[in-house]
């Protein structure tokens, strides 16, 4: 080994001097400092010396084994392809139900729900603040009635559904569980995911209703209830996606997501929840941005980090060390200009997600810088995944980039940079991640870090040092009239009518008792979920339940740092 190393080293010196040097002066590109999208400086070429410090068994190893750098399952996509899950929803429950059935017929393998803004913020469709937004950006849900329509003809034991929802996550979980019961699906066959990650809302996405502490309390309530009642359901999707969309770097996305994850696990353990019971019901959600190798390295690093963290927390079951994650291609990378280019962007990003070993994937549609996707655009997005899965051959080998000098070096580099952030957050909380994250929310640490990165990125675009094809280079005069999805403006009226009808027909006495029960749980610091479940079944609206929370806990506006 020693002899070989010396030989390589000698060869390298010779190559640098005689081969490389004469070429360097001939470089035509204007770029002088090559770096990743996140600003990590990178070399011309990588070789064994760059990964000398890595140990194959300790740091890379085999898929399905600690530290899972190469994948959580030993067979990965040979055993089962990733779930092709397209985020979709608009208008009323009927509209969305139709779109879902079309997607399932076209070969989609899981559902993913986009809610409208009023639902996301826990407001009913007839709230004055909801005016003009009902059904616009997703499906409007007020009561269980809407869910019954949404899942009409969709068997919960066959399809899993993901719900991108946060402050009202518990309400939605209760509705879904109720639908499962109506369909007589055994509870351990009810699969799906609620996002339920409030920390990243405070950092980036801003769907905020309650203050941080009670938000965390309710999340842990959902953990407790979910472990007992829906054991196969992902009770949280710890998300970096939105942090990245808000402008962070890949390293920040990874570090803040993992820090949040640690805080949730610590909060659950403080409540007395068994970590090995909780772990299988945790999931993650990352962004796939433009820098191909950086994204792959990020996914690989994230798995390795989480495995170490969970082991350190005392999780015994190897399954508890798995980081399972969903990926969405970067919405913020889509351009309104030359929209067809987005198909190519999404393809590259999706490929990175697959090479990074994701469990499920959403591919954006090419028209989404303009509006919610049209049917044709969604179909192309789904076909992109199918092409990668069935035509490209990349799914045939597990972690095909494992061992690449560059990818291994970058995986390690990103991991190191992420740990630095995590240590800083832990220090802010004097050793507690819960306190550290809460502190960082309160003093604006996360927001400031993300805003600064966003401004840096924009500056690069303005200066032209970062090229966005079709935006600041290769521009054309174009007719941008592409066929877009239109949401029926009648949706709001119809939705409000339905809500009124439900409110009239339900047993309002039972409802009142249930809302009182929720209030008393909040006031006495008891788990709110049993009461929420009953309230949902008595057709309490999302706004009524959130309203009860608000009355007890108050609302919250986060410090805004520009």
């Amino acid at each position: 080994m020693g002899e070989l190393t010396e030989k390589i080293r000698e060869k390298k010196r010779e190559w640098e001097k005689e081969c490389l040097e004469p070429w360097l002066s001939k470089c035509e590109r204007e770029v002088k400092n090559f770096e990743t999208l996140s600003g990590i400086e990178i070399s011309n070429v990588y070789d064994p010396f760059d990964i000398e410090h890595l140990d194959f068994l300790r740091d890379i190893g085999y898929p399905g084994e600690f530290p899972f750098t190469r994948g959580v399952y030993p067979t990965m996509y040979r055993g089962r392809l990733w779930t092709m899950r397209l985020f979709s929803g608009f208008g009323t429950a009927e509209d969305t139900n139709r779109r879902w059935k079309m997607l399932l017929e076209e070969g989609e393998t899981g559902l993913s729900t986009a809610f409208d803004f009023p639902t996301l913020m826990g407001l009913d469709s007839d709230d004055p603040l909801a005016d003009g937004e009902v059904g616009k950006c997703g499906v409007a849900i007020d009561t269980l009635k809407d869910f019954e329509i949404l899942f009409d003809g969709i068997p919960l034991n066959k399809v899993s559904t993901s719900f991108t929802i946060n402050p009202p996550a518990g309400i939605i979980l209760a509705m879904y569980t109720a639908i499962g019961d109506m369909q007589k699906v055994p509870r351990d066959k009810v699969r799906g995911t609620i996002q339920n990650d409030m920390f990243k809302e405070f950092h980036a996405q801003n769907t905020i209703v309650l203050p941080p502490e009670p938000s965390l309390k309710i999340i842990v309530d959902i953990f407790e209830w979910g472990i007992k009642n829906v054991p196969k359901f992902n009770l949280i999707s710890i998300s970096g996606y939105h942090i990245r969309e808000a402008g962070s770097t890949a390293v920040q996305e990874l570090a803040f997501t993992i820090a949040d994850g640690m805080a949730y696990v610590e909060a659950a353990m403080e409540r007395g929840i068994d970590i090995d019971k909780l772990a299988p019901q945790l999931s993650f959600f990352f962004n796939a941005h433009n820098d191909f190798f950086e994204e792959i390295a990020k996914f690989r690093a994230s798995r390795r980090m989480w495995a170490k963290i969970m082991k350190d927390y005392g999780a015994k079951d190897p399954r508890s060390w798995w980081m399972k994650f969903h990926v969405q291609t970067a919405g913020c990378s889509l351009t309104a200009q030359q929209p067809l280019n987005n198909i190519v962007r999404v393809t590259i990003q999706a490929l990175a997600a697959v090479l990074g070993g994701c469990q499920s994937l959403h591919t954006n549609s090419f028209d989404e810088a303009w509006a919610l996707p049209s049917e044709e655009a969604v179909r192309v997005a789904l076909r992109t995944q199918q092409l990668i899965a069935y035509e490209s051959g990349v799914a045939n080998v597990v972690d095909p980039l494992g061992g690449s000098y560059y990818v291994e070096w970058l995986t390690d580099k990103i991991e190191r940079l992420a740990w630095k952030y995590i240590e800083r957050i832990r220090e802010m909380g004097n050793g507690s991640m819960v306190k550290g994250v809460l502190k960082g929310i309160e003093n604006g640490f996360f927001v400031r870090e993300i805003s600064d990165s966003a401004a840096r990125y924009q500056r690069e675009i303005e200066e032209g040092s970062r090229i966005i094809v079709g935006v600041n280079k290769f521009r054309i005069e174009e007719d941008l009239k592409i066929p877009l999805l239109k949401v029926d403006p009648e949706v709001q009226r119809r939705q409000i009518e339905r809500l009124r009808r439900v409110k009239k027909e339900r047993d309002n006495k039972v409802l009142k008792e249930n809302l009182e029960w929720i209030r008393s749980c909040c006031e006495n610091n008891e788990n709110v979920m049993p009461a929420v479940f009953e309230a949902v079944k008595s057709y309490a609206s999302v706004g009524e339940i959130m309203g009860t929370f608000k009355q007890v806990y108050g609302t919250y506006r986060k410090p805004i740092i520009i």
């Binding site: 603040l129 003093n443 108050g554 609302t555 805004i560 520009i562």
Partner: protein, 330 residues
């Protein structure tokens, strides 16, 4: 828009014209001095409260909560919030308004007819306020806003400018407010009439409280000594002898301590009004402001008149002598 129209609009409570008048003043529109002159007799009824403190202590939140509290007490509230302008580009991010409570509270301060909020860039002036903050306060005063809150830049520098506009100065601190020396240097002990330790739920609030009280007691002794000397500034001393500077604790996010703060602010005003201290203070301020306006006009005139001289090759001292001689003669 002519002077008449604006003056009448401001006195009748027309928000749009008040907003325009403020812009005229800020931009030193040719009509602005006449507007101010005409409105001046209508001023003097508002209680002007300066809110100052280091960055991040929660000034804007306190301003919002105080506004709510004074509205509850039936008073109309004008707010002038100053943020720093870049010395290089002149640009400024005026981000204080967003702290004002909006949509999801029952009393929406954004839409309250009796609340007027105006953001200002400091536009090159130091000392925590903008050059025209005093005049903007006058406009709000003449528009019959009863309480006027002036939120300073809060850059951690000496914010003595607030003394030029405010009757009562509230200094906001928080636990972890840098080190003691920094606070001393900023001169906040001298400028404050009321001290607030915000975010009092954070650890260390008691330490800051103890320390401020100690520093204030030393300061008080000095004042007592000074009062024996005949040449000390009279109105300031009178004020100090009748007012023991309180130190309060608040958790502004949750509204804790805000009522007490509003009480102290009102109490301070009563003390000032008694014995004519307030009037004396304001007279002094008017004097200073007259001199400043005069100096400014003379400066502009000099620049106009001696443009060629200034471009010349004579040394600046000789030029200055020449100018002073000529100006003083006329």
């Amino acid at each position: 828009m002519n002077v008449e129209e604006i003056v009448e609009g401001v006195t009748k409570g027309n928000r749009k014209l008040l907003a325009k008048a403020i812009s005229y003043v800020e931009n030193e529109h040719p009509n602005s001095k006449e507007i101010l002159r005409r409105l001046y007799p209508r001023t003097g009824n508002a209680h002007v409260v300066g809110i100052t403190g280091f960055p991040g202590v929660g000034k804007s939140t306190i301003v919002s909560k105080l506004t709510e509290e004074f509205r509850r007490r039936g008073k109309s509230v004008g707010i002038v919030a100053v943020d720093p302008s870049s010395p290089f580009t002149g640009g400024a991010l005026l981000g204080d308004r967003l702290r004002l409570e909006g949509a999801d509270v029952s009393k929406n301060l954004w839409l309250d007819e009796k609340v007027f909020f105006r953001s200002m860039g400091s536009r090159g002036r130091l000392g925590g306020i903008a050059k025209k903050t005093g005049d903007v306060v006058k406009l709000l005063d003449s528009a019959k806003y009863e309480i006027i809150l002036v939120e300073t830049v809060g850059a951690g520098q000496s914010e003595v400018g607030v003394l030029e506009v405010a009757d009562t100065v509230v200094v906001i601190l928080m636990p972890e407010t840098g080190d003691d020396i920094q606070v001393n240097k900023a001169g906040i002990l001298e400028i404050g009439d009321i001290f607030v330790i915000n975010k009092a739920d954070l650890g260390g609030a008691e330490n800051v409280e103890r320390w401020i009280k100690y520093m204030l007691s030393l300061d008080e002794e000095t004042v007592m000594e000074l009062s024996k000397l005949s040449h000390a500034e009279e109105s300031r001393l009178m004020e100090r002898l009748r007012w023991k500077k309180p130190v309060l604790k608040t958790i502004a996010d949750r509204g804790v301590g805000i009522k007490e703060l509003a009480n102290e602010i009102e109490k301070h005003y009563e003390v000032l009004k008694k014995n004519g201290v307030l009037q004396k203070k304001r007279n002094e301020r008017a004097k200073i402001s007259a001199i400043e306006i005069a100096i400014e006009e003379i400066r502009a005139e000099i620049v106009r008149r001696y443009k060629s001289l200034l471009d010349g090759e004579i040394d600046p001292y000789t030029v200055a002598d020449k100018i002073v001689k000529e100006v003083l003669r006329c």
